[in-house]
């Protein structure tokens, strides 16, 4: 009998049994929660300087910032907004659920080498070079592998670093603030529409609001936003609206535009 007289066979038997236990009982290792280290080396204001030059960002440029807006709520489509102390950019990315990759409050590093920057409605947008048939906006950064390489999460959202909008009067808004999240209070709706975003002819609806001082401001809502069909406030109700600040020509005049991220950015204040 092989096991009776053979030490090597007995040892092999023991190893076999032990190996089987280890193999069968071993759990899959959990992936490390350590985030990659990518050091930003340029302020976002640099993107504004390069915007609209028609040339790609130079080699080695890495921006850094905090995500202040994403597509959770459906009002932003394939883009996130990142800001730092010097400014803000909207990064166009060809994915549909960016809120999972880049939640609000996450710190990101953007490897901008070779990307283009263009100003659209007052906000610097970052992406691939515009296509010849759509030369007024940058093209989104595409395919998951490239997106993960370009826009890297280097810090998860924390309670301490919550994104608080800057509270402003309409009269205090400046073009340099475009792209940042601001809150304007005391707004009253002016118009006859009944909801925030229904529009059969365009993907984005603009609703006109005014302040008691007589300043006007538009609020932009995508028809795909979760709150697109929510009713607008009555004209005697005052609301505060937070959102990413844009500037464009609407209702026959140049004016600032707020683009709320979710319905929670809109608060009724008083009648």
């Amino acid at each position: 009998m092989i096991f009776r007289n053979n030490k090597i066979a007995r040892l092999a038997l023991v190893l076999w049994v032990l190996g089987g236990w280890l193999w069968g009982c071993a759990a899959l290792p959990e992936p490390s929660s350590d985030l990659p280290t990518v050091e930003p080396n340029a302020p976002l204001a640099l993107a504004a300087e390069w915007a609209d030059r028609g040339v790609a960002m130079p080699e080695g440029v890495v921006f850094g910032g905090v995500v202040v807006a994403n597509d959770w709520g459906g009002n932003f489509y394939r883009s996130i907004v990142v800001e730092d102390e010097s400014g803000a950019v909207e990064v166009n990315i060809a994915l549909y659920a960016l809120h999972n990759l880049y939640p609000i409050g996450a710190r990101v590093a953007i490897r901008a080498e070779g990307l283009s920057a263009m100003t659209y409605e007052g906000v610097v947008q970052l992406g691939r070079a515009p296509s010849p048939w759509n030369d007024y906006r940058v093209e989104p950064i595409g395919v998951p592998a490239e997106i993960d390489r370009r826009v890297v999460v280097v810090g998860n959202p924390t309670e301490e670093e919550s994104v608080e909008p800057m509270v402003c009067e309409v009269g205090e808004l400046t073009e340099q603030m475009c792209g940042r999240v601001v809150r304007v209070e005391g707004l009253r709706y002016v118009g006859t529409d009944t909801d925030w975003g229904s529009n059969a002819y365009a993907s984005t609806s603009y609703r006109l609001f005014s302040t008691p001082e007589g300043d006007s401001l538009a609020v932009a809502t995508s028809r795909y936003a979760d709150f697109a069909t929510c009713p607008l406030p009555a004209d005697d109700v005052s609301v505060s609206v937070s959102g990413v600040l844009y500037r464009g020509r609407h209702f026959g005049a140049d004016m600032y535009v707020l683009k709320p991220r979710t319905y929670e950015d809109i608060c009724e204040q008083q009648r």
């Binding site: 009998m1 092989i2 096991f3 038997l13 076999w16 049994v17 190996g19 089987g20 236990w21 193999w23 069968g24 009982c25 759990a27 899959l28 290792p29 959990e30 992936p31 490390s32 929660s33 985030l35 060809a94 994915l95 549909y96 659920a97 809120h99 999972n100 990759l101 939640p103 609000i104 996450a106 691939r128 296509s131 093209e139 595409g142 395919v143 998951p144 592998a145 490239e146 993960d148 999460v153 998860n156 959202p157």
Partner: protein, 834 residues
């Protein structure tokens, strides 16, 4: 206990179970080896399966056609598995069943545990070895029916350790069984070398069941196998089985003289875990530069992890008490089967997130309108970045960890907890006849009653949140219960006279269904369903030279109960077109034997009327999950089949079979399409334009030639060649519905929706060389010698691209998905019997 707790508990159970499997795998073999001295072995010289006799089926034609769906007179007093490898052409539905005595277990296609138990008990080679697998290459080419009896009277003491090397991986399997008497005075085990356990000789009466003065015997078998798939990356299986039976045999007086009295109690469990291979489009296979590419796995911290896993643990308890007179004239049997366990299917699910699957159409080059992005996507595949060309587990974990809403990606376990209890009483009276080497009932009357209660609790739960918190919302959860109570009364009569043998059999059944949804509180009232079966067969034997047989089969089936579960979340919708289904099939077969040559020709036809079906799909027209519930579908199948065998001498034989048939839809029927979660009716009574389409992916032409040659000094060689052609992809009911076809379609779009892709011609040539020396067997099997790559199977994803162009909508079906055959590959198997 919430869903997460349940999931954790289940995971813990799975972990323990895997430990047990590993233990079995690695411990049973040495134990078996040590028990070697205690056992008296019989070593079969023939490797199982090498001499599978294609024509052997011909002998059973009458018997099979008469009894394929009813308990068999010969077998109810015994214990065994009955398995038909594939439906014979002309049978109205697949006949793959695993049967335990008089009780039907589930189809091996659905119940892998049953199949594993069957396969391992009878020691089917582990996906290779010394068996030729033409059926692997051709749907519908496997004509075998098999019977195996692992009762104490038949099982033999043996152990087997198998190591198998294939070109990409290895497998390891262990089988150990023991038989003995419980009487101390007769402790030696018994081997029954006279029983051919692989043949259809169920009535062989040469069992040694009376061994031991007390009449008590036991049988025990345990085994396990595990390992990665030989050729497809990311696929593995991890199976084990345990079998224990105790039998008491005695002789008692009876009406017809001395009676054999057998009481058997058996418990068995076959836990199975296996990961599943994906189906992919031509584009994906091209990108991966691998026709065996499998997208359902990825690396987690450098270790492979599958995203599609099936698990099954359904233990069974079987009790049987039978009486049979010594001459086999009369007998009766009372048996009960109880099963309880869990089947689960674990897969990746996601909520408000981009698809985690690397082959999602939106990530492929064709999914990008921008050529630059398409090039980038192709480049990722060219570089073989496994984080993006397989499931990127590490990435999913990181996304979950930072998600403020809890996990957005999760492994979700779709669970079926089942309980089933069945009792059967049967008895019969009849003579027996031995002819052509087999014994069967010649004249007699047989009948019985089966009553059963079955319940299924279907729910899903989180198996792994992949590092995320418990999600606050979003994942689609369900929890419902289905109860089924029913009975079947059956009987058969058979007589043999000058004009041949005539047999008729029939069954009447009644079933009630009840449904309760734990999430919505809804209950669906009991629903009565009836079924009836009638079969008639005639067989005339021209001495020993030939047979002429004819069979007629009518089957009235209740609507399949999946129709009842058309909208499981709501349970509000029952397929309105589900009606009893009528199946009528007929066949005529002639067979002759002259000298060393044997041949047979069969003509067959089958008509199915009023079939009901349910198709679940993502409805791109309405952007929501939908269920299409259809009824009134008619199909007609017919064909001719020829078989021949030349038995050159006792060592050398050549066999062949050729079959030509047509499977076609006669009438498409009508359907309702409802929202999958709210049961809102999107359209009703929409016509289905299936008429004229092929109704099965079974080949319409099959040719098979096989030769086996036994050489001196223990060598054996076998060669098998086959050709399958005329295989078409099953159509999508939704694509054939007026709901879609009545839109403003171009002729090209209409053709794309209604067209059926041919899966092409599939030639195959395989060879095996086998040698046995003492306890060691070595075999080299080379499959697909021609090296051809052809589509093994395929299906149409029920998805559409809807694009607006030139102010009108255009509808393009998503590309078909396939699995390709394995290329030329080898299996080198080393067997050691102990």
């Amino acid at each position: 206990m919430d869903l997460e707790d349940r999931g954790r508990l289940w995971n813990r159970a799975v972990q323990v179970w895997r430990c047990l499997v590993a233990t079995l795998l690695f411990v049973v073999a040495p134990l078996g080896a040590m028990a070697q001295q205690l056992s008296d072995k019989f070593h079969e010289e023939n490797p199982q399966g090498l001499f599978d006799d294609i024509l052997g089926v011909a002998d059973t034609t009458l018997h099979y056609r008469l009894n394929s769906s009813l308990p068999l007179f010969d077998r109810t007093a015994q214990f065994g598995f009955y398995h038909v490898g594939y439906s014979r052409r002309g049978e109205v539905r697949t006949s793959e069943v695993v049967r335990l005595g008089a009780h039907n277990l589930q189809s091996p296609l659905d119940a892998w545990g049953d199949y594993t138990l069957l396969a391992l008990l009878r020691r089917v080679p582990m996906g290779g070895g010394n068996e030729l697998y033409t059926s692997e290459a051709i749907h519908g080419a496997d004509l075998r029916s098999e019977w195996y009896d692992p009762s104490p009277a038949r099982l033999r003491s043996e152990g087997n350790l198998k190591l198998q090397y294939a070109e990409r991986n290895y497998r390891l399997g262990v089988h150990y069984s023991s038989v003995g008497s419980l009487c101390a005075a007769n402790s030696s085990s018994t081997d029954n070398s006279t029983v051919d356990k692989y043949s259809d000789k169920a009535t062989a009466t040469d069992s040694t069941s009376t061994e031991g003065s007390c009449g008590w015997r036991y049988s025990f078998a345990a085994g396990a196998r595990g390992g990665g798939d030989a050729l497809v990356e990311g696929v593995y299986r991890n199976d084990a089985y345990l079998w224990l039976a105790v039998e008491k045999s005695a002789t008692a007086g009876g009406l017809f003289g001395p009676m054999d009295v057998r009481t058997l109690m058996a418990v068995a469990v076959a836990p199975v875990e296996r990961s599943v291979r994906s189906w992919n489009t031509e584009e994906v296979f091209g990108l991966a530069a691998d026709r065996l590419y499998n997208s359902s796995w990825g690396y987690q911290q450098g270790r492979r992890r599958s995203a599609k896993i099936r698990r099954e643990v359904v233990p069974l308890l079987y009790l049987s008490h039978s009486l049979e007179d010594k001459l086999g004239i009369a007998g009766a049997n009372l048996s009960a089967l109880v099963r309880a366990g869990r089947k689960s299917s674990v897969g990746l699910d996601w909520n408000e997130a981009d698809s985690p699957l690397p082959d999602w159409y939106g990530y492929l080059p064709s999914g990008y309108a921008d050529p630059e992005l398409a090039d980038l996507a192709a480049e990722v595949w060219r570089r073989g970045e496994s984080a993006y060309t397989q499931v990127g587990w590490d990435r999913l974990w990181n996304i979950n960890r930072r998600s403020p809403r809890g996990a957005v990606y999760a492994m979700v376990d779709e669970v079926v907890d089942l309980f089933s209890a069945e009792i059967n009483l049967s008895g019969g009276y009849g003579g027996r006849r031995t002819q052509g080497g087999r014994t069967w009932s010649a004249d007699g009357l047989f009948g019985g009653l089966t009553m059963g209660y079955h319940t299924q609790h279907l729910h899903n739960q989180f198996a792994d949140l992949l590092g995320g918190e418990y999600p606050s919302e979003g994942f689609r959860l369900y929890d419902y219960r289905v109860e089924h109570f029913g009975g079947q009364l059956y009987g058969s009569w058979q007589t043999t006279g000058e004009g041949g043998t005539v047999a008729v059999s029939g069954a009447l059944g009644n079933h009630t269904f009840a449904y309760a949804n734990a999430l919505t509180g809804r209950r669906v009232a009991l629903r009565n369903l009836s079924s009836a079966t009638f079969k008639a067969a005639w067989n005339y034997r021209f001495g020993v030279e030939g047979d002429l047989a004819a069979a007629l089969h009518y089957d009235l089936r209740s609507p399949h109960h999946s129709a009842l579960l058309a909208a499981p979340e709501q349970a509000a919708t029952i397929n309105p077109y589900a009606r009893p289904e009528h199946n009528l099939s007929a066949s005529v077969r002639g067979e002759w034997r002259r000298g060393k040559v044997k041949g047979a020709v069969s003509l067959w036809g089958a008509l199915v009327m009023g079939e009901s079906r349910v198709e679940h799909f993502w409805n791109d027209l309405d952007d929501r999950w939908s269920a299409l519930m259809a009824g009134g579908i008619n199909t007609l199948r017919y064909g001719v089949e020829a078989e021949a065998g030349w038995y050159i001498n006792s060592e050398w034989r050549v066999e062949g079979v050729c079959a030509i048939g047509r499977w076609g839809y006669l009438r498409g029927g009508v359907a309702d399409i409802v929202d999958g979660s709210t049961s809102e009716v999107l359209t009703s009574h929409t016509a289905l334009h299936l008429d004229g389409l092929w109704s099965s992916d079974s080949p319409s032409f099959v040719a098979l030639l096989k030769t086996t040659h036994r050489l001196p000094k223990g060598w054996m060689v076998a060669l098998e060649g086959s050709l399958a052609a005329g295989r078409y992809m099953e159509p999508s009911l939704f694509f054939c519905s007026d709901y879609l076809l009545c839109r403003n379609l171009t002729p090209e779009e209409r053709t794309a929706l209604l067209g059926q892709e041919s899966l092409g011609v599939a030639p195959n040539l395989s060879a095996v060389v086998y040698r046995r020396v003492g306890r060691v067997g070595l075999s080299l099997s080379v499959r697909n010698l021609l090296g051809g790559s052809y589509k093994y199977g395929g299906y149409r994803p029920v998805r559409l691209s809807v694009a607006e162009n030139d102010y009108s909508l255009h509808y393009t079906p998503h590309p078909n998905k396939y699995q390709y055959s394995l290329p030329r590959h080898i299996y080198l198997t080393l067997n050691y019997d102990f």
